[in-house]
Amino acid sequence: MTVEMMIGRGREAIDMIVDPGSFQENRIGESEFSPELGPGAVVGEAKLAGRDIVVIANDAEAINERFPVVYFGVIGMEEAYKMAKTVYTVMRQDAEKAAGEKRPLLLIVDTPGNAPGKIEEIFGMNKATGAYQLALAEARRCGHAVVAMVIGRAISGAFLCHGLQADHILSLSPEFGTMIHVMPLTSISRITKLDIERLEQLAENNPVFAAGPDFFYRLGGVDEMVTELEDMPSAINRHIQEIEAAKAAGVADCTGPMYHGKLGEQRGGRMHRRPVIERMTAEFAAVAEQYL
Amino acid sequence: MALQELHYTFRATEPQPFPLGWSHSGVVGSGDMEVMFERCMLDGEIRFKVVTPVRGFERVWEQVLGRFVNETNLADVSVEINDNNATPVVVLMRLRQALKEARKEAEG
């Protein structure tokens, strides 16, 4: 078993996963992106087990010269819109294809956050991350298989943006230094003024606040943990097939965030979500006539 | 430090019913609280449940709630309070306001 930290190695991860030499950066079918645009986002087409896919990844080494807070894998405005544009491009090009024929989207996740800058706020960074999520949700709902593979950092809003809208989410296991969290426990301790040891102790039984892929697994936020780097291609391929099969079966919310909500309950991590929704449904049923 | 639950029971001298089946008011902001009144048969008693992050003020709660019962004579009602560091003055104020609102709603 090879245990190597993959943080900051998004480009290498692409090569490890896709068929050798198949990745064509900045090209999606007949569309092409300028290499200057959003360098922190690596997009392009590739083959996985011989099949055409589209890859969206982070480049931790790229520095976006035009936006000083965008470096080390941060998703800035250009990066997020480039990612969104990639998704729309795939959807447009595959619009006429049957569900199983549409190209899968592979999100390779290693990002520490969304760009926290002044210009970003003035121009509305919230739209950029929102745009990408809507695009992914649409692609997922219109039949593309969307798989996220967390190889390094999947932090807070950036993970929401790049990862959590996928049909299925895979993560390298914690030995690889994989980080999934909103905030490290030390920061949570500082902000909530709760003792760190107490928090660690509580986290053993309750995964809702602690940092790490294991906790997200228990909450249904990660479908499967991949324990060997070499297993990534086959695991991703297997999930693509599962997703396509599930979609073909036509069951609503059989993948994606709503499915992950159910998974969280099955794994004993999110026990309160369903009872809340059911209670609301029952209460509305009692008064629905007045409104409909 | 987990949240603390406190329970108190009082019996009013001249029992008065709560004017509504139930009522809720307030917001659990910092230094504030919410309260829920629910009418139920308690054999002339009034019961309070207080959920609070603050420790060491059990006696103060008892005094404050006792005073509210004394001035209102409420009975056969269960009262639940979610507290977030409300001072006694705020507690009394919120309880009185809640009762006043309930009376107004009962009349209107």
């Binding site: - | 103060v60 005094q63 560091n85 001072t87 006694p88 003055v89 705020v90 104020m93 009185r96 306001q97």
Partner: protein, 556 residues
């Protein structure tokens, strides 16, 4: 035996001349010294052990000069004795950290209170005394006369005439005390102009002027955002207006700083109006330009306001209301803290303010065991002015009610200043507002102070207002009764829980303790809808756009 030669009657002047000569290389045209030479200038004119006044109160700060003083060579300049109103900047304490200064006589240290206590404990700093403003100014002319004063002004002309404008504050008293005892006056100014708008300090009282790289800092200390006023504060404010202001017909007031008094100000045009009190109360103030007073001023309540200092953002408003504020021939306000404090001491009928702790006897303090906060000016107003000889109706009435009047003056008529403390029985995190013993007592022990720092003594205090009601303490016949009245308003604190209900009932019958209900106030009405302005923006609207709040309060 004294010979003619051995007597020198101008040694101070000689010494000053020597120091000025040492500074000569840094002086450019007129009295100007470049900012870059400021540290060298200070090294030239300062001697170890000097009494140095570094201007800075709770509002304006000679912050550039304070920074320069921190950079002098401690081998050359050390053991200074700082005499200054307020310790509020980090650099004020850095001086002691570096050994540049050793001793401190001051008045207020709000933001630095914790660090100050630490330094005293560590032996880095020796406190002479903690004063009230007037007391400290007084000592500038007796035994704490500065050898060198470092002050701040808005502008200077090339001769050194100073314009200190709305924020004149302590400058005149410092400069006069220093210069008339042959001391040296160094001024940082925001700009050097051909002609100052008005001469606040004449040029021949000034030795050096330095144009500072940044304008001097002013703290918008008296700005209170109405959005933060709570229902409990509104309830207390209603009780004050009805149970004290209306009861005594109080026309001449000082409001201590805080949200309680801001609430009172914002209730005048609503609740006060409803009670028909306009013209009958609150016509004259000794008060900083409180933004929360704008609605009352605009509604015609206020005839005159004498200010201790300026307030950031209120300049244009104040300028446009010359009937109300004290405006110079140039059209801008001048504050003079010494005169305003004198006015506050002698010419007011009431002081009202908040505090941190009141003990079971009625002494109050804002110090805690680990914070040496000091007083500022409040005690000059929060006391009975024993030298007062003019009568006003509220003052007379309070004297008539005074329980010890017969005993002390044989029944000869004498009035009494109302000194009112607004107190929450519990503050945030359930910290009690009433205690067995003031933390100040422990602090005095810890810091080796001769006196516990008491803000207002029990014998000056006439009323306490809490959400429980009002205690009219001055009516009490003796200390036992006073303590019972304090227990009655102390709510659920340990002091309050010692209350004897029968005793309280008796006090209530005699009008020594009144609840909101006794005053005819419905506590359910105590909510934010009563405020004449609910946020900063509404204050700006009331001011017709003349008030421009500082950026940190500009929440729209």
């Amino acid at each position: 035996m004294i010979t003619e030669e051995s007597v020198s009657w101008d040694s101070l002047l000689q010494d000053t001349r020597a120091r000025l000569a040492a500074a000569a290389p840094y002086v450019q045209a007129g009295k100007q010294v470049a900012a870059a030479d400021a540290v060298k200038l200070l090294e030239a004119v300062l001697r170890p052990g000097d009494k140095v006044n570094l201007e800075g109160d709770n509002q304006k700060q000679a912050d550039f000069l304070a920074g320069c003083l921190c950079r002098v060579d401690p081998a050359q300049v050390h053991d200074l004795h700082m005499v200054q109103s307020v310790l509020s900047l980090d650099r004020h304490l850095d001086l002691f950290d570096k050994g540049i200064a050793k001793k401190l006589d001051f008045s207020f240290s709000g933001p630095q209170a914790g660090r100050l206590a630490e330094y005293v404990r560590a032996g880095k700093l020796e406190i002479g005394a903690i004063h009230t403003y007037l007391e400290l100014y007084g000592r500038y002319f007796i035994d704490l006369t500065p050898r060198v004063a470092l002050v701040a002004a808005y502008s200077a002309d090339r001769n050194g005439n100073l314009y200190t404008g709305a924020n004149t504050e302590d400058t005149p008293v410092i400069v006069e005390a220093t210069k008339f005892k042959q001391g040296i006056v160094i001024v940082q100014v925001n700009e050097i102009v051909d002609q100052v708008p008005r001469v606040d300090i004449p040029a021949d009282w000034v030795d050096f002027i330095i144009q500072s790289p940044q304008p001097f800092y002013i703290e918008p200390l008296f700005t209170r955002d109405p959005a933060l006023i709570t229902d409990a504060q509104i309830l207390r404010a209603m009780m004050v207006i009805k149970g004290i202001y209306a009861e005594y017909g109080l026309q001449r007031l000082n409001h201590g700083i805080g949200f309680d008094t801001a609430a009172i100000e914002l209730l005048l045009p609503t609740y006060g109006e409803e009670l028909g009190l306009k013209g009958k109360i609150c016509s004259y103030f000794a008060l900083n330009p409180h933004p929360t007073l704008i609605p009352a001023i605009e509604s015609g309540w206020v005839r005159s306001v004498c200010c201790f200092g300026g307030e950031v953002g209120m300049e244009e408003y104040v300028k446009a209301r010359p009937d109300v504020f004290f405006i110079g021939p140039d059209g801008t306000m001048r504050s003079n803290r010494c005169l305003a404090q004198t006015a506050g001491h002698y010419a007011l009928d009431i002081f009202i303010g908040g505090t941190l702790q009141i003990d079971r006897y009625g002494n109050s303090s804002t110090a805690t065991a680990t914070r040496i906060a000091g007083f500022g000016g409040a005690p000059n107003m929060g006391c009975d002015a024993r030298g007062r000889r003019h009568a006003t109706s509220g003052w007379l009435r309070c004297g008539e009610e005074y329980g010890l009047q017969q005993e002390m003056t044989g029944g000869l008529p004498r009035g009494k200043r109302l000194v009112v403390q607004l107190q929450e029985t519990f503050r945030e995190k359930m910290t009690p507002g009433f205690v067995e013993e003031l933390d100040a007592v422990q602090l005095a022990k810890n810091a080796g102070l001769a006196l516990p720092p008491v803000m207002i003594y029990s014998d000056d205090l006439t009323h306490i207002v809490t959400e429980e009601g009002i205690a009219y303490l001055h009516k009490c016949a003796d200390m036992q009764e006073r303590m019972a009245a304090i227990r009655a308003v102390a709510g659920y604190t340990d002091i309050g829980l010692q209350e004897d209900p029968q005793e309280t009932a008796a006090l209530r019958k005699r009008g020594i303790f009144k609840t909101a209900e006794d005053l005819g106030i419905d506590p359910a009405r105590a909510n934010r809808s009563l405020l004449a302005a609910k946020n900063m923006r509404e204050l700006v609207h009331w001011s017709k756009g003349l008030y421009t709040p500082p950026a940190r309060f500009h929440n729209w």
